[in-house]
């Protein structure tokens, strides 16, 4: 077993452990911090898989931007008092059983001796090659993504707009309008 092969299992362990810890945190802030660790390890895994551009972008976009956005929103909204839980165990059983069935089915499927599990050869797609490939073959998708970002920006700005400024349509809106 070579060094890169051991590296994969170490990284997979880090990713699985940090994601599992994130799922079971009570406070969303702790979950976000564990997920940053998970995404960072995923970026290193991408580098191991010979994908430098997705590795760098994994650090920049999900681990950096999206998780910081989550932290901002958690800080903006503040924490809530946890409500008394009714039928908490029953609520957890269904999803836990479904997730366990999916995981077990995947494990069984992968353990079937269809053929020998051959280790993959190392390869590397440089950022320049990948960028050229994307812009040559998938330029409509790149344009669609830019439109998607514009729509997301407009939608987010619409959603966080101050609806109270429209007037006192809602009862209970006792703030004086200037």
């Amino acid at each position: 077993m070579s060094v890169t092969q051991i590296l994969f299992y170490v990284l997979a362990g880090v990713i699985a452990a940090s994601t599992g810890l994130a799922v079971f945190q009570r406070q969303p802030v702790h979950a976000v911090v564990y997920l940053v660790v998970s995404f960072f390890a995923t970026a290193v895994l991408f580098g191991l898989f010979g994908a430098p551009l997705p590795a760098i972008l994994q650090i920049m976009v999900p681990a950096g931007a999206v998780m910081v956005l989550f932290l901002f929103i958690i800080m903006l909204l503040g924490r809530e008092e946890p409500k008394p839980r009714d039928l908490a165990t029953m609520r957890w059983i269904g999803p836990a059983a479904l997730a366990a069935v999916a995981a077990v089915a995947g494990a069984v499927l992968l353990s079937l001796p269809v053929h020998e599990a051959v280790p993959m050869a190392m390869a590397k797609a440089s950022a320049k090659e990948l960028g050229r490939f994307v812009y040559q073959n998938y330029w409509p998708a790149v344009e669609a993504v830019s439109v998607l970002f514009f729509v997301a920006l407009a939608g987010a700005m619409f959603l966080v707009r101050d609806f109270k400024a429209r007037g006192a349509e809602k009862p209970g809106n006792e703030e004086a309008q200037p």
Binding site: F8, L69, E80
Partner: protein
């Protein structure tokens, strides 16, 4: 040499199951969105692994698009949570039982 594709897919299945569990079982809206993020992350791991297996760059290219999709989805979702918290005063998914607008 890296690990075989089967082990990469096993990692992706494990992550996807954990993300699905998080999205289905948690009650906080932010934790539900984090579960969706975990599932998308599992998808990108599977895509990059398959890209290495078959020596094709489509998987990596789609991973880039998946990241863009994740960022847009998270921004709109979190803005929706801010709006919902302003209207209903809670982030508990059990508190939203009507679609009165």
């Amino acid at each position: 040499m890296t690990a075989p594709l089967e082990h990469v897919l096993a990692l992706a299945v494990l992550l996807f199951a954990m993300g699905a569990f998080c999205a289905l079982a948690r009650r906080n809206l932010i934790m539900i969105l984090l579960g969706v993020e975990i599932m998308l992350n599992a998808c990108s791991i599977a895509l990059v692994g398959a890209s290495l297996k078959w020596q094709a760059m489509e998987g990596q290219a789609f991973t880039l698009f998946l990241m863009a999709l994740t960022a847009a989805e998270a921004s709109v979702g979190l803005a929706l949570f801010v709006h919902a918290r302003k209207r209903a005063g809670t982030l508990d998914s059990g508190g939203y039982s009507s679609m009165k607008g």
